[in-house]
Symmetry: C2
Subunit: 287 residues, 2 copies
């Protein structure tokens, strides 16, 4: 990352203000190279009955038995999309997959407050069912699925791994960027209440942390230098519990100069550190 | 890192066995590009009265007011060198500095068991005194000193920051790779006993952690995936205390696929992730 971009991101602050979210999107969109000419996209394939059960599929010619890279967007459980007309995000994540020889999938999911926990794990299970049935026809290997997500998307992936453990066959790895994993110690806020409910007594069973500690799926975590305080506390909690349980650190990458949004948004730009990190992980776990 | 190199490093294991240490040195030496033609080195300059108070100085033409990058080797407090004839290590660290437009310094220091704590902080203070008096004549800025170290070298840098706080003017940053910082919780072993003494009651005052939490010097930590368990526990302890004190994570980089030795040994090879990490930090803190 150049000192100028670092300074621009730092100036936006750590908190998830409209100015920070909008400013980051604008800055990162200006750096996007756009989709590769060779990337083919099929949009809005239904993977379930709800209007939000939709995926975009990214491929390139010649894929056969390729790893399948899924990206789950964030948005505080209550908003967000896989694709916004006129924006490179998050088609950049599907394009990333195709450029590296993977099948790419971006997806939407049902939103809170209408849909509450465990709607995220349930929607991931539907998505994985669709992949098992269909992705081979698109050149993907359903035994090499890598689930990635950012913020609420990371929490949904973690929730699927933790609360749908019997469903996880074929998940080769998960890449979890700036998520909240432990509802027991997370800061209460309106977004979490919309998804987990206002009664915090319901939050304990929803925590992902014991399930993440127990899953055999390889996990890559990341935290951004300019993530809000609560995400840093969650990462510290993850390190403490992981180390106490396993005697080793989790694979937790500290992304210098990045904020809550910029890691996923940097993929497809000339800021290549996050792309290298994720692509290296996919190659490592998918063999 | 390529899958083949990762597999070779993984096969050497996490523990600091002779086979792991020798195998890593051999593998990494085979990948070294050697010193750049433009790098000029002056060896064995005395910075103090002991035979081990020696530094090698690396420059290139045209330096003026450049950051000064110091590397302190490891070796369990009892061995190690700044340069071994026929080996690229650790002249690679001085060459790295010169290639990036910094003044590079590699140093030796007095060894345990003959010299015990706080000989490390004392030797670093002598080295910094020498830099303050002499480095401007070699194109360096004594107000932009970056101290780096690996293993026992990281512990000595941490010890200087923690136990010679009044001496730290001009230290712009420190890059600490796979060190032991908290003698209170560290695993007792023969190397630590050689330096800190056999009576563990003396170890408490030698701990660096409270001093690291208090220093205003920017710190970049790293831990290797294949570091031994005790280094992982130390990093977890660092995260816990840092987060509890500051409410944020330390800048702790998790180096996937690396072992205890390979990060510093990778600098000057085509495995560029550690070089990018360190160079980015130096540029950030030295302005």
């Amino acid at each position: 990352m150049t000192p100028a971009i670092r300074a621009e991101l730092a100036a936006l602050g750590n908190d998830l203000t409209p100015a920070m979210l909008g400013g980051t999107q604008k800055l990162m969109a200006s750096m996007s190279r756009g989709m590769a000419a060779a990337t083919k996209v099929t949009r809005d394939i239904a993977y379930g009955p709800d209007q939000r059960h939709r995926l975009d599929l990214f491929t390139c010619d010649g894929l056969n038995g390729a790893p399948v890279f899924v990206f789950v967007h964030g948005g505080g459980f209550v908003m967000g999309d896989k694709h916004t007309e006129g924006s490179p995000f998050y088609s950049n994540m599907g394009d990333f997959a195709a450029r590296h020889g993977f099948v790419g999938v971006t997806m939407t999911y049902r939103l809170a407050p209408a849909h509450k926990f465990p709607s995220g794990p349930d929607d991931l299970a539907l998505l994985v069912d669709w992949l098992r049935a269909e992705v081979a026809a698109h050149g993907g290997d359903p035994a090499k699925i890598i689930l990635s997500g950012q913020s609420a998307g990371a929490t949904h992936v973690a929730g699927y791994l933790a609360h749908r453990r019997e469903h996880c066959a074929g998940i080769a790895g998960a890449c979890l960027m700036s998520g909240i994993y432990d509802t027991v110690t997370a800061e209460p806020n309106a977004f979490a209440e919309a998804y987990y409910g206002e009664d915090r007594r319901g939050w304990g069973p929803a925590t992902c942390l014991p399930g993440l500690l127990a899953t055999p799926v390889p996990l890559q975590f990341s935290i951004a230098e300019f993530d809000p305080d609560d995400f840093h506390r969650q990462a510290a909690q993850l390190v403490a519990q992981w180390s106490a349980t396993k005697g080793r650190l989790p694979e937790l990458h500290y992304l210098s100069g990045h904020n809550h949004l910029s890691p996923a948004l940097s993929i497809g730009s000339d800021m290549r550190e996050v792309e290298r990190m994720v692509a290296g992980f996919v190659r490592r776990v998918a063999g």
